[in-house]
């Protein structure tokens, strides 16, 4: 932790998919306990960044440094246990499971008993299982879904499914939370609620990194904004600085 206030550092990342360059020498850092937005036109490589961080695939070259240690191709379940939570652009809840169970699954990482022991003992014999349930309930309340706890997750409207996905990620007690277009498909009222929720998450000392197209939301909640185009970083700074950047304006207006 020696004085380094960056929780995540991307160094000269390169990644191409069959000749198409997705990331081209991308470098930037994410400060602890901030909300950083990653924006850019479609196909700029934003989701690729998330997939690299969470270990869906490795970079062709370059380094990812998380908590002062390089990530060396850790698989997604491993990055999760290192404290990186994530939600998806297309909501991914466990549709056939109840809302509460969805969050409980996220919570299992923080349970002390290994999966082998918890396989043998049914819940009513284990106080820990009850604790997992209570903690899961806490995160449901945090996102405001406790009244739906027994509903199957697939029956929730999209906005609530997104909230649920966030609750599941939060239940892992991540240090870094990656949100992939949290507001896409939400109406304006839901978007405002999402903005407030992201604010509350930052207040819990969790570093948030998000990819988002809703500029109003981005400018309102972000401490830092990084702008990508064609796999490169074209600007980075406070929302105000970025809004006034020439290159950003031309990338968005297509000059």
């Amino acid at each position: 932790m020696s004085g380094n206030d960056l929780i995540l550092e991307l160094k000269e990342l390169k990644k191409s998919f069959g000749g198409v360059v997705a990331l081209d020498n991308l470098s930037f850092g994410v400060k602890r306990n901030t909300t950083t937005s990653l924006i850019g036109p479609n196909g700029a490589g934003k989701t690729t960044v998330f997939n690299l961080i969470t270990g869906y695939f490795g970079p062709d070259s370059g380094l990812l440094i998380y908590r002062d240690r390089p990530l060396k191709g850790e698989k997604p379940y491993k990055t999760a246990s290192l404290g990186i939570g994530r939600t998806f652009q297309n909501v991914q809840v466990f549709a056939d499971m109840s809302v509460l169970e969805n969050v409980m699954v996220g919570r299992h990482l923080r349970s002390r008993t290994g999966l082998t022991l918890s396989a043998v003992l049914p819940s009513f014999l284990r106080p820990e299982e009850r604790r997992i349930k209570e903690e899961a309930w806490h995160w449901l309340e945090f996102v405001g879904l406790e009244r739906f706890s027994d509903m199957p997750a697939g029956a929730l409207p999209l906005g609530n499914q997104r909230m649920l996905e966030i609750a599941r990620a939060l239940a892992m007690e991540p240090e870094l939370l990656l949100l992939d277009e949290p507001a896409s498909g939400l109406n304006s009222r839901e978007t405002i609620a999402m903005g407030e929720l992201i604010g509350c998450i930052r207040d819990k000392a969790i570093t948030v990194m998000l990819v988002e197209h809703d500029m109003e939301l981005v400018m309102e909640i972000s401490d830092r904004v990084a702008v990508m185009n064609f796999g490169r970083l074209i600007a980075e700074g406070t929302p105000r600085e970025v809004q006034e950047d020439r290159e950003v304006i031309s990338a968005y207006l297509g000059e």
């Binding site: 466990f94 299992h108 819940s123």
Partner: protein
């Protein structure tokens, strides 16, 4: 006339075995999207192991039961670790072909160890057959029904009330999201092989006293169990239990009223009819038929 009652007992007894084999198929299907063609071999190994432990080594039934289940479970785990897990680019087809190879290997090994003959095993309890309305029911049949009920209860408790069971369900529903929630999906696949080997072994152990196990029975047992899994809707284990019992009963009725020569054919015809008419199975909705990728 109490023929029908006699056939019903017989059908339930056969059906219970199909149901358990089908549950084994479903568990691996849910975790990986593949059909494990070595499922019937787990049944055979469980039965033959039980024969050796009780008839040759003279262990008590209870001790031998747990030892046999444990042995086959380890075989299931080894199968996953040595043949499924190392595949570098797993596709459904590749993995299915591997399971076919493994089933041949199991069958061959079983022939080497236990020979080609069929093996007799004593019933769990030496009580007299019961008379119910003119039909007789073997105590072993009651054991089979009782153990099926216990397995179903255990299954429901495991998947609904334990964290590991919930994680396995999560992994089956959405593998990507499960991995990001910190679930090691490969470990879940291993667990599914362990559990379905265990269920297969139990089925083999309880049926052996009634049918005399031999090394080559796996294929047909597997096929009938697969039929039950399809009729119940692949991946739906409670559907599989109902379908297994139904299939066993229809088979027994057909064997009794039509001809016992056609019993196997009738089971397969039913499976085909269900596949034509309701590809999602009797108890699944057709929307649920999804093509899973490994």
């Amino acid at each position: 006339m109490t023929d029908w009652l006699q056939f019903l007992f017989m059908g339930i007894q056969r059906g219970a075995i199909y149901a358990m084999v089908a549950m084994g198929f479903n568990m691996i299907y849910n975790a990986t999207g593949i059909i494990n063609f070595a499922q019937g071999e787990f049944v055979v190994l469980g039965g033959l192991m039980m024969v050796s432990l009780t008839m040759v080594m003279d262990f008590s039934i209870v001790f031998a039961f747990f030892l046999s289940v444990g042995f086959v479970t380890i075989v299931g785990i080894l199968m996953e670790r040595l043949t499924i897990n190392p595949v570098r680019r797993p596709t459904v087809l590749r993995l299915i072909i591997i399971t076919i190879a493994v089933s041949m290997l199991f069958k061959g090994s079983a022939m080497c160890f236990w020979g080609k003959g069929s093996h007799y095993m004593r019933h769990f309890t030496e009580a007299q057959p019961l008379e119910i309305m003119g039909a007789t029911i073997m105590p072993q049949t009651l054991w089979i029904i009782g153990i099926l009920i216990l397995v179903v209860i255990g299954y429901v408790l495991f998947f609904n009330c334990t964290m590991t069971g919930k994680c396995m369900r999560a992994c089956a529903i959405n593998r990507d999201a499960a991995r990001l929630a910190g679930i090691n999906d490969r470990r879940m696949v291993m667990l599914s092989f362990a559990l379905s080997a265990a269920i297969g072994a139990i089925a083999g152990i309880i049926i052996t006293p009634l049918i005399q196990m031999d090394y080559a029975r796996g294929a047909l047992l597997g096929l009938k169990g697969f039929g039950a899994a399809v009729i119940g809707g692949l991946g739906n284990s409670m559907g599989a239990v109902a379908a297994g019992l139904l299939l066993g009963t229809i088979e027994a009725m057909a064997g009794g009223y039509i001809s016992s020569h056609y019993m196997d054919a009738i089971a397969l015809v039913i499976m085909l009819v269900v596949l034509f008419a309701r590809p999602g199975g009797l108890f699944g909705s057709s929307e649920e038929v999804r093509l899973k990728e490994f």
